[in-house]
């Protein structure tokens, strides 16, 4: 089942009079449970694609379908609800909420929605996530008391808090040294395998993209390679 479908997507940015064609007609689909990587040189449109999939931006042309829902024509409220239910985000610079501690940072997406899990349920789930990302000893630390790698682990747990179908990560390792970056991708892979959550991440790093079981390569706003290698990926993990 395709969890993400892009069909003839174009994105044009207007800089004054100049038009920037960030995407020039992109089509691909990502299956549920994929550990997908979007690669390509700087400016090729990776972030643009992730923003469209994350429903924080809309295409100029073409269709984006998330978990069966077309994003076209949705209001801000509907998009917000769709994001809340379906998508988790991991950012390059972590973006933890500084006034909240580790536990609260992971909890907060749960507090936004209307149908919330029971207290006990939420607590158990968050504790499971904290355990899973290896931060059980740091539950009550604020983000400024954590290293970059630890912060990104919190971010991974946070992205999974609402049990979304899709987690998006735009260059999640770019602010980390290569060893820590590697461990972060491995953690993402572990969660992907454990929860069958679809992960889509962008990266420049070739060693990191090799862990992906689905690679979409971009060049100048066009897909130049779309390789799905489930058998090979299975061998890696």
């Amino acid at each position: 089942m395709a969890i993400v479908e892009l069909d003839g997507v174009k994105k044009v940015y207007y800089l004054g009079k100049a038009e920037v064609h960030a995407l020039r007609g992109v089509s691909f689909s990502i299956e549920k449970g994929d550990f997908a990587s979007i690669v390509g040189p700087s400016g090729s449109g990776k972030s643009t694609i992730l923003n469209l999939v994350g429903c924080i931006d809309q295409p100029t042309e073409g269709r984006v379908k998330i978990n069966g829902t077309l994003t076209e024509g949705l209001s801000d409220k509907e998009l917000t609800n769709l994001r809340h239910k379906t998508v988790g985000f991991i950012f390059q610079s972590f973006n933890l909420i500084p006034v909240l501690n580790v536990y609260e940072n992971i909890e907060f997406p749960l507090l936004l929605g209307r149908d919330r899990p029971s207290r006990k349920e939420a607590r158990e789930w968050i504790e499971y996530l904290i355990e899973a990302v290896g931060l059980a000893d740091h539950m009550h630390h604020k983000s400024n008391e954590l290293s970059g790698g630890q912060r990104q682990r919190v971010a991974i747990a946070r992205a999974l808090a609402t049990k979304p179908e899709i987690v998006l990560a735009d260059e999640p390792t770019a602010n980390l040294d290569s060893k820590t970056g590697q461990s972060i991708i491995e953690l993402m892979k572990k969660m992907n395998a454990e929860l069958n959550t679809t992960f889509i991440f962008s990266t420049h790093d070739t060693t990191i993209m090799s862990i992906a079981d689905h690679v979409i390569r971009l060049l100048d706003g066009l897909v130049v390679e779309d390789t799905k290698a489930r058998a090979a990926a299975g061998g890696l993990s």
Binding site: I56, R83, N95, I97, V99, P109
Partner: protein, 441 residues
Amino acid sequence: MFTLKVAFRNISRQRKRSFLLAGAIAFGMLVITIINALTGGLVGNIRENFSHALGGHVFITGREFNERGQVITKIRPDERLDQLLEENADRIQAFTKRSQALPSLIFGSKQTMHLVYGVDFHEEDKLLGSLVVTQGSLDQVLQAENAVILPLPAAERLGVEVGETILIKLETLTGQHNVGELVVAAFVEDQEQFGLSAAYVSRAYLNSLLGLGPHEYQMLNMFVTDLDVVEEFTRTFREGLLMPGEEQEEEEPNVTVSVGGVPLEPVPRQERITRWEGTRYRVMNINQIMEPVELAVGVLNRVGLVIFIILLLVTMVGITNTFRMILLERTREIGTMRAFGMHKSQVQQIFLWEAVLLGLVGCAAGLALSGLTILVVGNWPLNVDPSLQFFLQQGRITFRLSLNDLILNLVLVVLTSLLAAYWPARAAARLSPIKALSSHT
């Protein structure tokens, strides 16, 4: 409530900034609270001191025409009045039936104007017990009919000794000059801090000088047990004393308060008065007398309110600027929260909660400071001019804050805070998530 929690955490984020804003609000709150409490205390004290000086909360006078067509202020023995007094006995703490005059007291070459009450000493048995004698004896007043009890300052002004005779010069109710003799029976301590205390003679004697019968009097003063129902109490008497066919009188709004301690001679009305038969009663109470005072105090409170609002407006500018700064500082944070499914309205809520909390913290601090100030100032005995004692309670400034004022001030603070944060909050809510996320802050 997640937004409230985040807002609460946020205000402790930039301590110095929050401290300054809350401090400004606290200062405004301090000023207005002190003004409100001070005026509240002032009114209370003036009312109490007035009641004391006037000898009551409710005052009844009677007027009738004499055979020459003059209006005379007097009350005759009246069954209706006695019955009303009896029926309402449980609501009356004490009452007095007195005559009064503001005559010249003369001794040798010295003379002084002094308030004199004509008292039925047998009826008012508590009065003699309440006077503090410094010289002479009070027993005499029950025997000699023209004995006078003088307050010490008056005695000193006249240079008179106990046992000596002074002259009393006054006008009768019909305007003739009259002179009598008084034998000084005793000196008593000035009861009033503000020098309003009266001399006392027997009512029958003063009446004879004024041209009244021995059982007549001029004013019936009553202390009620509960000041809260004084209006209703007043109405009972007013209605009970209406003459058959008499319309309820319009109350004159401008009561003159004379410093002699006798406020109850209303300005003669210019309109033609048609003659009536019998006694017309006028029933007034302390609230009516307090009206001009409350008017003045109301002005003071309004000035305070204006100052408060100006302070709040200045603070408002500060809050707005601060929140605009906050908006810039937290743009990416807002983008993150939006990405995770926070609605616009919730972003706005965080900002508005933050403003409300800031306002409330400011209010709390301001009230705490006011409390402290009140505690210190209120316990400071003041040695001021006797005339100012009228505003004090046993030489101390008292404070009384009404709940209404307090709530009004709180509401004002919360409203201005909300208003100040409204535009930045709206701007925050309107940030597009993607733009907010690509911000560098």
